[in-house]
Subunit: 340 residues, 2 copies
DNA sequence: TTGAAAGCGATACCAT
DNA sequence: ATGGTATCGCTTTCAA
């Protein structure tokens, strides 16, 4: 028999027709055998011949042709930001992808590089995904949702701080994080609270609501809030620390643990005592925070598991009319350590 | 009983036929207009009618149908690990994705969750990608490469420490990192060097060659190497630090900056002076390292830009026979700071 | 138990 | 300047 499948530069890709020919049956039979179609009974010898033929040719079905015929795909489109989000959230998205694959969806991460909301939605729609799970940092317009639904998407779901007209929403209310940090600092007796807002673009979807959360809690208590723009580099942190005393603040909530570490270092280098002169709180409860001195107080964020999210997506796909709006998907609580 | 899903109660997904009908032309004309086919000339009024019809119906072409007809796709498949790699490498992969999209490829990140190398390759082949860019941490067998090429992939490229029979290789030799760290420590007069090997699975593709790099440099100098398994958590680090003095080491290369930070903290907490009693070197040159005290010495890794990689992929796609093996894609040099 | 044939949606050749 | 139509690879009635 054939030893080494001699495939020169231009050997054509084997199709089910080739398998059928080699096995001496029709394409229909090939399909039946390879898909274990239970509605049809094929004799065992035939099955074997088909399988052997497929094996020998190295036949692999063509997903596009299959889903074209089927009229639907199992693609879940997961638009990705072009900027790196934090490690916590990054891990979470990874988990979601996992879980969706475990439910037999094909996860397509689509980087929508500089496309506007509507262009992006159009590009996504070309893939005819059965569902779109759009993280909060991705722009998605009501019109974009329409385009996607019109293109056959059973589920268009936003996963993040805000909802979009027409889409199912899995709301993760970032304000709770700011609120938790603020409550903690107020309880510690702080009355003038700075809030670091990352200068990096694309993070505002997270940082704005966190700031709003702080604002609400702090003003309700009659204390002061000061937004502080800072980039994730030493210069920016040093500059901020340099003018710290003019700001007259006695505490700062620094967006997340990474920014907090950066700022805390800069404050210390500027001779400002933490937590004596200024309390510092981060967020995300990264391992790192426990290693710092003083140990970094943080807001622990309880994200849903990837499985939960995947199952919600699956539910909406199966029952697009069903209610799937959820608001209880995120919890936040402070972990006080030494920096506050 | 199970009839064709009627696309629910609402309107069916519009096809080019619908556009043609509404515009009063044939499907061919629709295709010509919407693709700006230059070989055919369509009158301006007709063009307008077609475009308006498409707009009105919210028509979006069906990517699967198109690529089925075309006989090829612009899909670049990027298998993803199910474990988070470091932040440096993660950012790099993100950049690659960017750059590929800029070259008009559709990047599909495919999480191959617990599939064996051959099953995974088969699953990827179903999507008929024009190229597969497989990061080093992904298992890819020679047989898998065959399957992919047979399915029409013009380029199967490994991106990582090792090469795979049949695939183009963009080799990033991790040994250089270990070698750089070792050379630095030897130069500092250290003679007994520990090497942290992450306990986390999936990182061995990186950690093994790094260890090998250290080993080669150190044994050549007649000094001692000691592999040290450590997980990325405080307990594991503390345990290692607890038995440090028995180990009789005067330096440690801690895989990357994250593990280095963790271990350095544990050593300090165990009363071991850094760098006096033990020098510590990390890798990746993360911002974090500059914030620690003592400042963390590190190996700066020069990864290629995403654009370089994307262009290499593109080149192989256009000329699959051309040579594209590259070994000069990574450079490493030590940045001495205070911890060594 | 198997096969013939009708599409799924888009494109490109060949007529008109 | 347009339209008819074969075709890509696969699934699934309906017939034999």
């Amino acid at each position: 028999m054939s030893q080494t499948p001699k495939q020169s530069a231009d050997s054509p890709v084997p199709t089910s027709t080739d398998v059928a020919r080699l096995a001496g049956v029709s394409r229909a039979t090939v399909s039946y055998v390879l898909n274990n179609t239970s509605a049809v009974r094929i004799s065992e010898p035939t099955r074997r011949r088909v399988r052997e033929a497929a094996e020998e040719l190295g036949y692999v079905p063509h997903a596009a042709a299959r889903s074209l015929r089927a009229g639907h795909s199992r693609i879940v489109l997961l638009p990705t930001a072009h900027i790196p989000v934090g490690p916590l959230y990054g891990r979470f998205l990874n988990e979601v992808q996992w879980a969706l694959r475990a439910l037999d969806y094909t996860v397509v991460q689509y980087g929508s590089l500089g496309l506007g909301a509507d262009e992006a939605a159009r590009a996504w729609a070309e893939l005819r995904p059965v569902a779109v799970l759009s993280p909060g940092e991705i722009a998605l317009s009501p019109h974009g949702v329409q385009v996607l639904k019109r293109s056959g998407a059973k589920a268009v779901i936003t996963l993040g701080p805000q909802r979009v007209e027409g889409a199912h929403a899995l709301v993760m209310d970032q304000r709770a994080i700011g609120a938790a940090a603020a409550a903690h600092l107020l309880e510690r007796g702080r009355r003038a609270i700075g809030v670091v807002v990352p200068a990096e673009e694309g993070l505002d979807m997270f940082s704005r609501p966190r700031l709003a959360g702080v604002r609400k809690a702090v003003t309700a208590a009659g204390a002061r809030v000061e937004p502080l723009t800072m980039a994730y580099d030493e210069e920016s942190a040093a500059a901020l620390a340099g003018r710290w005393r003019e700001l007259g603040l006695d505490a700062v909530y620094a967006y997340n643990d990474e920014y907090a570490q950066l700022l805390m270092r800069a404050l210390q280098d500027a001779g400002i005592d933490v937590p004596g002169e200024c309390a510092v709180v981060g967020a995300d409860d990264l391992l790192m925070g426990k290693l710092l001195r003083p140990r970094l107080s943080t807001v622990h964020i309880e994200l849903p598991t990837g499985r939960e999210i995947a199952e919600l997506v699956d539910r909406v796909v199966r029952d697009p009319e069903g209610e799937a709006e959820r608001h209880d998907l995120m919890a936040a609580h402070t972990i006080p350590r030494e920096s506050s």
